[in-house]
């Protein structure tokens, strides 16, 4: 019975949080004089109620699954890796750069994905080494590296990878390197398969391999894990490498799979934010690779439906975003509370 409850409890908490979030959002809309009922109806009808909406939800979920994995893997190991944003920029840059090569269409996207993952890993290397060798806290270093990546990407977009005839964007990813659309007339590309595959692999690694077990052990109780012979350094480097690979891939699937432009815009306006949204998605998915998939689809659906909310329910855009924020915050709350509880316990024992 207790076992069953332990299994169901996270789900029940998330559902309750979802209800609270929707209620909070409704309250906000009502307080400002908008009717929440038609607004929510449009929101869910246009995200999960028809094929185009569902395709949009899945397309939006694609990069979020990967950035959420980057955060969740770290969280499982007891690390707060906030760096998926910066890793994602580097992955996107690598994907655009690789597309300048001339390769056959089977090999080209594969190489782009591999190089994007490598770019993400490289970007995580310095914070990883700082943490493993000098004990520099990864929250500080990864946030700083996000900004370095932001400005480096700005520079690359404007000066190195710039489209010679259209300076507002990078060159577009070559046709041979694009991820094909799964459904014509939508945004949904093969990227969703890559992302979901990564989530599955992450799950198998964490729960069905020795090194995955060691990482989780290090996250649950670092002292005990060390006593049992798990090297904290190896754990940090391994986890950062995986987070970097997922972060880099997130940037790649978005630039290689999102029509119509298949490029990064000046100001990074089409990719900025996925890394941070991914943290929210990871929280909603309780930092579980398989929980992240539905969480990302829900989050992506919220974004897709929100576009229609302003169109048909006459709720202004800013209000839509506020409501979105309340729902996401409420959904992230159970996991946040769990993390804070654990931190407090850790402080008390040390």
């Amino acid at each position: 019975m207790r076992r069953l409850w332990l299994g169901i409890r996270p789900l029940a908490e998330s559902l309750l949080a979802g209800v609270i979030g929707l209620g909070g959002g409704a309250l906000i809309m009502w307080a400002w004089g908008y009717n929440p009922w038609p607004a929510y109806r449009v929101l869910f009808q246009e995200s999960f109620g028809n094929a185009y909406g569902l395709a949009s939800a899945l397309a939006n979920a694609t990069p979020l699954i990967l950035t959420a994995l980057a955060f969740a893997i770290g969280a499982r190991a007891g690390l707060f890796i906030i760096g998926a944003e910066g890793m994602m920029y580097m992955g996107a840059m690598a994907a655009v750069a690789t597309s300048l090569l001339r390769l056959p269409s089977g090999l080209h996207p594969l190489l782009s994905l591999v190089l994007a993952a490598l770019a993400g890993i490289l970007w995580g290397l310095v914070p990883a080494l700082l943490r493993a060798l000098r004990g520099v806290h990864e929250v500080i270093s990864t946030i700083m590296f996000n900004w370095l990546s932001h400005f480096l990407a700005f520079y690359l977009v404007a000066n190195v990878l710039v489209d010679p005839v259209r300076a507002e964007k990078t060159v577009s990813v070559a046709r041979t390197a694009r991820l094909p659309l799964l459904v014509r007339g939508t945004d949904l590309s093969l990227g969703i398969v890559v992302a979901a595959g990564c989530a599955l692999l992450a799950y198998l690694w964490l729960w069905h391999t020795v090194s995955g077990y060691e990482v989780r052990a290090a996250g649950a109780n670092p002292e005990a894990a060390r006593y049992a012979g798990v090297s904290p350094r190896t754990t940090v480097l391994l986890v950062f490498a995986l987070a970097g690979a997922f972060g880099g891939l997130a940037g790649a699937v978005e630039t290689m799979g999102r029509p119509p432009t298949y490029a990064v815009y000046s100001g990074l306006t089409n990719i900025a934010g996925f890394g941070f949204d991914g943290i929210g998605v990871a929280m909603i998915g309780r930092n579980h690779p398989l929980g992240i998939i539905p969480a990302a689809v829900f989050y992506g659906g919220l974004q897709a439906g929100a576009r229609l909310m302003q169109m048909w329910a006459k709720v202004p855009f800013e209000m839509v975003r506020a409501v979105q924020g309340v729902i996401v915050l409420a959904l992230a709350l159970p996991e946040l509370l769990r993390i804070f509880r654990r931190l407090r316990r850790a402080r008390r024992t040390s």
Partner: protein
């Protein structure tokens, strides 16, 4: 009130909506969005006026990221609820290029880009003509007041902005030569210019303008929509440090008439690009059944661009009041300040601006219109404006 809202939503979702409106238009905005007091707000203004005149309903759609452009246009077209879908801005062109052939019976209009499909009206502007006028003004002001530089803060480096930069450079050069002709003295005036890479980050506009003002720019031309709010803050702060209220240094406004901003005595003139006229015209064409895909070019000739004058000030003070940026009580003071600001500048400068306008209109002077990076580099080489 709430009942009506439900009613509207239900009507909209049911495909066979009763024709309560004469027509319905979707206004799709890029990530810059409303509240810029220039480009996007102008599109809103023109659309709103047309809707009032023709009994149409407007639905406004903002984009959260540039990945939203395609789904936003497609969702609007997919609903088959709109007689016209207006895409506001160059950045939406790629997405419209995909959607327009998918919905051949849907009428589209796009501002600032050419999308060659038979169901798309492409509305473009001769920004170089208006930019030449404010460039001439800025050049003459720098020479007259003894400032070493004129400035311009631009947004993302898109081809449309080359029209502004090219025209501005030409105008400054013309203005400096005019100054030499009138006064018999030559002035050594350079141009400070920067592409900030954003149409939304107001802080970047402020920082860029601060740098130019510190180096001695007499005026900073805003070619970045909402960044003008930051530029004006920089100008206001600079004036406050010098213990003055009215410029120089000035800002030069863009798209809308922004002369009323900053109490009427800090924006010396605006290069008006009448996006509102473009939107209004498109809706009018659909309403009257004369809509046809193709190119609609708006320039000095058909009042699509121009330098701000007194009548425009009155019109746009209303715009500012509506946007909530100023109130009724500010009106008289702004007008008074504006008149004093303009009167403090020698009459020959204003006459010279008029002269340039007449010569462009008559075709005697052709302002360069760079369309690509290469053409822009050529214009920069022709008018380097370095000190």
């Amino acid at each position: 009130m709430a009942l009506r809202r439900i009613g509207v939503a239900v009507l909209a979702m049911v495909l066979v909506a009763l024709p309560v409106w004469a027509g319905r238009v979707a206004l799709i905005l890029d990530v810059g969005g409303r509240g810029d007091l220039s480009f996007n707000d102008m599109a809103f203004k023109g659309t709103e006026e047309a809707c009032a005149d023709f009994g149409w309903e407007m639905v406004e759609i903002q984009s959260a990221t540039s990945a939203d452009y395609l789904p936003n246009i497609r969702n609007a077209a997919r609903s088959r609820q709109f007689d016209l879908i207006i895409c506001v801005g160059f950045l939406l062109a790629d997405a419209l290029n995909v959607v327009a052939p998918e919905f051949p019976n849907q009428k589209f209009a796009i501002i600032d880009a050419v999308v060659p499909h038979p169901n798309v009206l492409s509305i473009v502007f001769e920004e170089q003509e208006g930019s030449a006028l404010v460039g001439a003004l800025a050049g003459m002001l720098a020479a007259h007041y003894g400032y070493p530089y004129v400035g311009v803060v631009l947004g993302i480096e898109i081809p449309v902005l080359y029209h502004f930069e090219g025209g501005y450079r030409f105008g400054i050069d013309w203005g400096l030569r005019k100054y030499a002709e009138v006064t018999g003295k030559t002035a050594d005036v350079g141009l400070l210019w920067v592409y900030t890479g954003t149409f939304s980050d107001i802080a970047k506009g402020k920082a860029a303008a601060e740098a130019q003002l510190e180096q001695g720019a007499v005026a900073v031309y805003n070619v970045a929509g909402p960044l003008g709010i930051g530029i004006l803050e920089a100008v206001t702060a600079k004036l406050a440090r010098e213990g003055r209220e009215a410029g120089p240094p000035f800002m030069i406004g863009v798209d809308a008439n922004q002369d009323w901003m900053g109490d009427g005595n800090k924006v010396v003139a605006s290069m008006m690009k009448r996006v509102d006229v473009g939107c209004y015209t498109a809706i009018k064409m659909v309403h009257e059944g004369t809509f046809q895909g193709g190119l609609l070019s708006l320039g000095l000739k058909n009042k699509g661009v121009g330098i701000s004058r007194y009548d425009d000030l009155l019109d746009f003070i209303e715009f500012g009041i509506k946007a909530g940026a100023i109130t009724e009580a500010d009106r008289a003071r702004i007008i008074e300040n504006w008149k004093a600001m303009r009167a403090a500048i020698p009459a020959w400068i204003w006459q010279a601006v008029d002269e340039l306008e007449a010569k462009i209109l008559s075709g005697e002077i052709a302002v360069p219109k760079p369309k690509t990076r290469e053409e822009m580099l050529a214009v920069r080489a022709l008018y380097p404006l370095t000190r």
